[in-house]
């Protein structure tokens, strides 16, 4: 009843549309540059791992992955830990300026990164964080913290108030209640929030590129280096691209059962 005629066909066609460009990238990553440039082949006729080997053996390449993952993880941890108490406050209490504050937070989620690129550059240079993972992690907080607050507020609101009251009656201090009772109760919510923080930090490039130069350069920025004297190194570019998809794909696989729930709150 809740499906539509021809739904299988629609779904299959749409999934193919989603997968085809990705397939093409994967396909190219296993080809040699000669094969890419000279022939149009639907699968690699002379499959090679050369492109991947270069990435894994060249430090300037693989350090990009480490850099990216570092700032993404730092950002996720910061976002969740500052957002949790705030989510609790917004969910349970009314206080001076709460609504405005909530709106202001959300509006930052919507702020264009391009606006902040330059001021961030100045700011983080001034406090000597430029070209460190911390700069990027903190910069990404501007959109991830509001998002985490928003998602977590929904999950905290799902916890009945009586649980707090009982815990306080039982003599729990606030921090102990928070860590021992509330956090385990909304564990799946924290998972969902962490997923989205990870996601948005992982996919963002403009700020990440602006705030780094050498030491903390993210993988996505390093990818632009594939132009060499011999022309474009397509195979290498494709291999690097494939490798940036993998962490995301892994994360999705682990949270697949929570995705619908996270979205269900209508809070993404």
């Amino acid at each position: 009843m809740n499906s539509i005629p021809g739904r299988r066909i629609i779904m299959v066609v749409f999934l193919i549309f989603l997968l085809l460009p990705i397939y093409w990238l994967v396909n190219m990553s296993f080809k040699t540059n000669t094969e890419i440039v000279t022939t149009m082949t639907l699968w690699p006729h002379q499959p090679t791992l050369e492109n991947y080997k270069r990435i894994f053996t060249d430090e300037s390449w693989y350090s990009g992955y480490i850099n990216s993952l570092t700032y993404v993880l730092i950002n996720t941890v910061i976002s969740i830990s500052v957002a949790l108490p705030a989510a609790y406050a917004f969910s349970r209490y009314r206080f001076l300026g709460d609504k405005h504050l909530f709106f202001w937070l959300l509006s930052n989620r919507m702020a264009p990164a391009a606006v902040f690129a330059l001021p961030f550059f100045n700011l983080y240079s001034a406090i000597n964080l430029f070209d460190t993972p911390w700069a990027v992690a903190l910069a990404h907080c501007i959109f991830n913290v509001p998002l985490a607050v928003w998602i977590l507020e929904g999950f905290v609101s799902g916890v009945p108030r009586e649980i707090d009251e009982t815990a306080f009656l039982d003599g729990y201090s606030f921090p102990r209640f928070f860590v021992k009772i509330l956090v385990p109760l909304i564990a799946s919510g924290i998972g969902v929030a962490a997923f989205f923080c990870f996601m948005f930090s992982w996919v963002e490039l403009l700020l990440a590129r602006t705030l780094t130069s050498v030491n903390a350069k993210p993988i996505s920025a390093i990818m632009t280096r594939t132009v060499s004297a011999a022309g474009m190194d397509w195979g290498l570019l494709a291999a690097a691209g494939v490798l940036t998809i993998i962490p995301g794909a892994l994360v999705i696989w682990f949270v697949r059962n929570y995705i619908a729930r996270g979205f269900a709150l209508g809070r993404v």
């Binding site: 539509i4 460009p21 406050a89 937070l105 919507m110 264009p112 606006v115 998809i245 999705i252 209508g266």
Partner: protein, 300 residues
Amino acid sequence: MDKTVNQKAWFLVLPVFAVVAFSAILPLMTVVNYSMQDTFGNNQFFWNGVGWFKELLDPSTDLGGRFLASLGRNLLFSAIILAIEVPLGIVVALSMPREGWTVAVCLVILALPLLIPWNVVGTIWQIFGRPDIGLLGYTLNSLGIDYNYVSNEFDAWATVIVMDVWHWTSLVALLCYAGLKSIPDAYYQAAQIDGASRWAVFKAIQLPKMNRVLLIAVLLRFMDSFMIYTEPFVVTGGGPGNSTTFVSIELVKIALGQFDLGKAAALSLVYNLIILIVCWIFYTVMTNAGTERPEKKGAA
């Protein structure tokens, strides 16, 4: 609903406030400061008052012309992708399998494009669309369609739009899917009893129950498409000519390319203001939609 008043809650919000204020207010103050000044480099600044803002809104000047043109392009782009992605997302959500392992597979594949770094999305389509080495470009050209996103404006637009549809329709679809999942079976059963047609079920049950998630989907898609930078920048670099130069691309060109801080700052402020206003309208509509059905929120 029955929140208690407690000003101490501010202490709980303080960390968030500090982090976001550090990232938002300080830089914004810099921007406001710059927007009133002119610079010839070497850290020499001159007071320029509201000069940049005047220029920005006057299409006859270079800055104003560029800003308004890119703004127009951006609005057109947002309108087109909303018109495609929202209905398509709904259709895809309605086409989701109901149960079994296929659900997980569909969800994972749907979510996949969302987790690809934006410049890689650009790279994927840059490769995919190339007439020499890309499957799409090659196929189109061998079918006799002269397709080249580097030199043809229409092709460039088409590529950027298809890329955005590829990248973001899943978000709309997943939101709608979640909205659909939350409809109790009794609604469908009642509709069957009432003899409702498939279309009537959609109009009377599914669409109204999805309105909240749809509003969020439209908001997110509007905002993100209005700020789009990375993907078209990688694919077309804003070209051919300036045909795919959206506001963010223009802004970065002025700020980081020409280091024209004053102009860039003024542009930033106006840009941000537009977004803030749209955001506020959505927020108001959304909170109103929430208060309309208090008992439903309580049940959830």
